[in-house]
Amino acid sequence: MTFLSTVKAVAISAALAVSVALPAAHADEQYFPLQSYRVGPYAAGGTGFFGGFIDYLNLINIRDGGVNGVKLTWDECETQYEVERGVECYERQKSHAGPAAWNPLSVGIAYAMIDRITADKVPLITVNHGRTDSTDGRVFPYVFPLLLNPYSETSGIVNYIAAKEGGIDKLKGKKVVVLYHGSPYGKETIPIYELLAQKYGFTVQQIEVPHPGNEQQSQWLTIRRAKPDFVVLRGWGVMNPVALKTAVKVGYPVDHIIGNVWSNSEEDVIPAGDAAKGYTAITTQASGNTYPVVQEIVKTVYGAGKGNLEDKSRIGSVYHNLGIVNGILNVEAIRIAQEKFGHRTLTGDEVRWGFEHLKLDPAKVEALGAKDLFHSINVSWDNHEGEGYVTFQQWDGKKWNVVSDWIAPDWALLRPIIEKSAEAYAAEKGIKLRTAADADAVAATN
């Protein structure tokens, strides 16, 4: 054999190997476009959340060989939490075959995508955040603010305060201060606090902290004069540790400060040091690595060297667990849709159907290894939030400890407000309200 013919033979066999391998790689796959952010001011949240999400997808692939044999695939596109980068990523990633759902974890990017994903018929998941009125599936067929929208969060916090005080009637005459971030996000719940204060007879004073919030002396002096029974911290980023430190400085008891869902992570309390001890915050998913599903991720995924977090001490942190829960919700929606449409690559609209039938009761959650990690979810075609429960955790200086039962927000009270807002949006945009029959019609092609 001459040198040339050897080369030829190698080339031919390589080509053969590739041609054999290629169809196999194109067997049934379900693709997740991840618009992640690992640099920029919000990198701490981004690395934790997308790390947890990818870890769970990896677990499903390694342990189960995918969802009913359908491998999960993904790629990442860096957004830095900036809207126009998110849009660019959307356009870049949408050409990939079989996108299941979008999970940008950014309100701004989600807003920019609503028109686009609705036209493309692929679901958009905004777990724990997003626009409140997208809960109304009649107006927003493809948007899912799973587990908790901002209004439910507000109601959950008030219900927790009530439970602490010994009943909803004990709220009468109490005083609550809400310290909010000076941004659209921070201001979103102002009318709901006013509404609940009126309904339950407590007084509420809402104080703004201008972005970014690294100086809060005057706000906390106002709080000291007001002597509220509780302070709700609706913060973001550097505002949170500064709030806790300043509270200690002016002598306000930290265990009467309650953080909202974006003030509840390790990144919010560790920089405050000892000042954060006793601080309580709401969450939809408990933190810690004792839950079976987290243990399996440690064993199977990190054991195989495929873990996504560089810093292993962040396994089980708030954002990492949120990513895992988000992974569970996405994967289970696919599984539910597969039972109806077949064990194959699903279209975006079929996955949407899956999300609209995503019902995980506590028993099912336990079977998934996530008992006590999160409570349950019950999404329907017109309720895209899915009645998530909340719990409260207290920081002891080293880790978060759960200090409450699972608490239900007052959905019935909030629903009419949400519907009104969604209907106004529909009128502004000329959208026809969807019916249950519309929701059952599924597009078979993307």
């Binding site: 640099v39 990198a43 790629d75 990442e76 596109c77 660019e88 356009e91 309100v107 659209p184 201001k187």
Partner: protein, 346 residues
């Protein structure tokens, strides 16, 4: 040598208006045929919006010599004004609400241009920062601007002019292209007119300009007004045609800097410079990021890749500015001159 070069200037033999006309014809006819949605949505639409903002800032900074760091604020003023006109005035045609929003931006520009009567250079730049912070603050603070939308983020209305709907990526591209082409043409006419020469006179020597009878105060405010008008309309394109949504935070100081970099890199006091600069600022990071993702995506996570792209981009910009301080326009002209020389001598 330079005499020869001017003699053989690129336009030799061809009418001057032919090249832009061909370019526009290409953009209208050929691009929609060959482009895909990624090209329109991720490249051409931001390119057009930022180019127009660059044209606007170039009138103020490049021609009239007034440094401004408030461009994003004027964009925001335009975007939110157009949204509100569209929402609150029943039956107002889109063209009218865009013009009105430009006028609102111009009014904001005049107010924040007032310090330019007393301040120069860096001091003026610092005072235009006030516009940047004030506008963003006001849009966040007063819910009226976003129609009491719970999260302060607004949605773009449908784009339709005279019953014709600019729907889909191509439609929005054509819409943006039309607005940009018209305003760029007007800007071009302006800078070659007496007013444009007044701008340049003030930039080059304010005292001399005053002595030869140019009304300095009026001209400066006019520059602010026209520049803000164009930048405001660019904001409308950014919000309505490109992102289809807008939040005040999207018009932050970074955006102002981005527009300033566009005209510095593209070339000051040049309409073409704004387009060349915007092309570089919009397209180059995308090329780098896709190349990086393609070559090294399996080895590093997206965060590391993004960081290294920033380093490469920054280094290239520094290098470029050292080697070609007059911007892309100067580079472009030199290349063209060389080419036509080579062509002549062959």
């Amino acid at each position: 040598m330079s005499a020869i070069a001017t003699q053989l200037s690129p336009a030799a033999g061809l009418p001057k208006w032919l090249a832009p006309l061909l370019l526009i014809a290409f953009a209208y006819v050929v691009v929609p045929l060959i482009g895909n949605s990624y090209l329109f949505e991720a490249i051409l639409l931001p390119f057009l919006a930022l180019s127009l903002a660059g044209v606007g800032l170039n009138i103020l900074t490049g021609y009239a010599g007034q440094v401004s760091l408030g461009s994003a604020a004027f964009m925001a003023a335009g975007a939110f004004a157009a949204y509100n006109f569209n929402l609150r005035v029943e039956g107002l045609p889109l063209a009218a609400s865009i013009t009105l929003s430009g006028l609102v931006a111009a009014a904001v520009g005049i107010v924040f241009g007032l310090p330019s009567l007393r301040l120069k250079g860096f001091y003026l730049a610092v005072s235009t920062l006030a516009a940047q912070f004030f506008v963003q603050w006001a849009l966040t603070k007063f819910n009226w601007f976003s129609n009491d939308s719970a999260s302060g983020v607004i949605d773009a209305p449908k784009l339709s002019i005279g019953g014709f709907e600019f729907d889909g990526a191509v439609g929005r591209y054509l819409f943006a292209l039309t607005v940009v082409a018209v305003l760029t043409f007007l800007a071009h006419r302006l800078v070659t007119s007496q007013t444009g020469r007044n701008f340049i006179a003030i930039r080059d020597n304010e005292t001399a300009a005053r002595i030869i009878g140019i009304p300095v105060l009026k001209t400066k405010l006019l520059a602010f007004a026209i520049s803000s008008f164009i930048i405001g309309v660019a904001g409308v394109i950014w919000a309505f045609a490109y992102l289809r949504t807008v939040e005040p935070a999207g018009f932050d100081l970074d955006r102002s800097f981005q527009i300033l970099f566009i005209i510095i890199i593209g070339g000051l006091a040049s309409i073409r410079g704004a387009f060349l600069g915007a092309a570089l600022i919009v397209v180059f990071p995308l090329v780098l990021s896709r190349l990086g993702g393609f070559l090294l995506g399996d080895l590093f996570d997206s965060g590391v890749l993004d960081m290294s792209q920033r380093i490469v981009l920054g280094a290239l910009i520094i290098l470029f500015l050292i080697l070609e301080p007059d911007g892309l326009v100067a580079l472009w002209d030199r290349v063209r001159r060389r080419l036509s020389l080579a062509w002549q001598s062959s």
